[in-house]
Symmetry: C2
Subunit: 253 residues, 2 copies
């Protein structure tokens, strides 16, 4: 079993880096392989654009999807993208580890999806969702927020963090992953002192123990139910009577 | 009246660039000012990180929020960030123009939010939501998707596109903008030929006319209702009996 942990935090000694390390240690202690892909450490370029493509299908007009597919088939993708795709294909499990910035992932991780999830290679019309290339593999989002658990709850002022992460969860499912319920850690704030700092430290240590225990029981980690392609009409609307699993796919009133 | 259009597309001749130009032309034709900030053209750096900060509060440990606030107060923010903040403060209206990549904005635009919406400057605990620094200004998200309108509908296979954009809409509201209903254009696909291409061209031309007409009636563009801070308890939970405007802030069952 090979776990790939993609880490997106600019500080090497961050709590996020610590969580990535904990996941790697836990996985290895069980006799498995685990690799941390530290996007900041390798200065990953998050901007998708024409300059990455050496063998253009159309040199006059840059079309991202067309050039991704073309370069996939020509085996001419950028070297970093090729390497990251190899890591993904080799992995049995994926963890995305990042701080919650502006209600989503840091740009470096969004750009990793923009550049690495290439059209023609990691997905195409007949290879998506439960037929996606990553089927049979599990993906987990682990994210830290400065706000409190109450503020990030379904009735919290910041909005339901699980739903705010949906674009990422949905993207992982789009390329075929079985997507696990995300692991969210709130109240990860800096600038605390004295009693508040001590309380936070103790709370985060508890969370790390909990996280490690849950990783040990990886097979039992609950997955998010998604609709299957057969639940939709040819026009891609939810069929009457089909289940509505996703909060983003509802029967019209 | 000054409109700032932030454009995030790698191709200068893209439909997105065309839409940005249309908005600028329409705005100017009414005697207003309009500026296009083309993030790709100026090779905007989307990665937030320590190397942007010249006058570190803590040189040993990079804390994004602390360094943002410190450099804002020291007037030592990176020059591009300073310039973009000036553009935002001068604007009466903002348009974010981007293609829908992996159910969100391209990384270059996400990173623009990560780096430009600085803590201490563009928001702080007493200056958020309806008390945010951008209050009284309107923001509009204009996004193009390759998928069909049916696939992006509330009962579509790709999930409700309006909800998938929520992290961005919510972020704009967080710094005080009045957030307008997003303008979504579906079926923007490449690689079409013959009749399908002609049909698409005609459909997109209609959308441009519609977009221009709606921009002319900017004052009537419907806004998204958000909860106010008074709707939440001190613990930031929705008060019993308070309205629940946002699909991401719900009363618990």
């Amino acid at each position: 079993m090979h776990l790939l942990i993609v880490l997106a935090h600019p500080e090497k000694k961050s709590f996020n880096a610590h969580l990535a390390q904990q996941a790697q240690d836990t996985w290895r202690a069980q006799g498995h392989q685990a690799t941390v892909l530290d996007l900041y450490a390798e200065q990953f370029e998050p901007r998708e654009g024409d300059w990455h493509y050496s063998s253009r299908l159309d040199a006059g007009h840059f079309d991202t999807m067309q050039e991704q597919r073309h370069h996939w088939h020509q085996q001419a993708l950028p070297r970093d993208v090729e390497r990251h795709i190899e890591l993904l294909l080799r992995a049995d499990a994926l963890i995305l580890q990042f701080p919650f910035w502006w209600f989503g992932a840091p740009a470096i991780l969004k750009g990793w999806m923009d550049r690495v999830f290439v059209y023609g290679g990691l997905y195409q019309s007949q290879r998506r969702h439960e037929r996606g290339i990553m089927r049979g593999k599990k993906a987990l989002v682990v994210s830290t927020a400065g706000a409190s658990a109450q503020a990030c709850a379904a009735n919290g002022r910041d909005g339901d963090m699980r739903l705010l992460l949906w674009p990422i969860l949905h993207s992982l499912h789009y390329i075929g992953f079985e997507v696990l319920e995300p692991y969210l850690i709130h109240g990860v704030r800096s600038g605390l002192a004295g009693e508040a700092q001590a309380q936070q430290r103790s709370a985060l240590e508890q969370r790390i123990l909990d996280y490690r225990a849950r990783l040990m029981g990886w097979e039992q980690w609950p997955a998010i139910p998604f609709n299957r392609q057969q639940d939709f009409t040819e026009e891609l609307s939810l069929k009457p009577g089909a289940p509505s699993y996703s909060p983003f796919v509802r029967h019209l009133p």
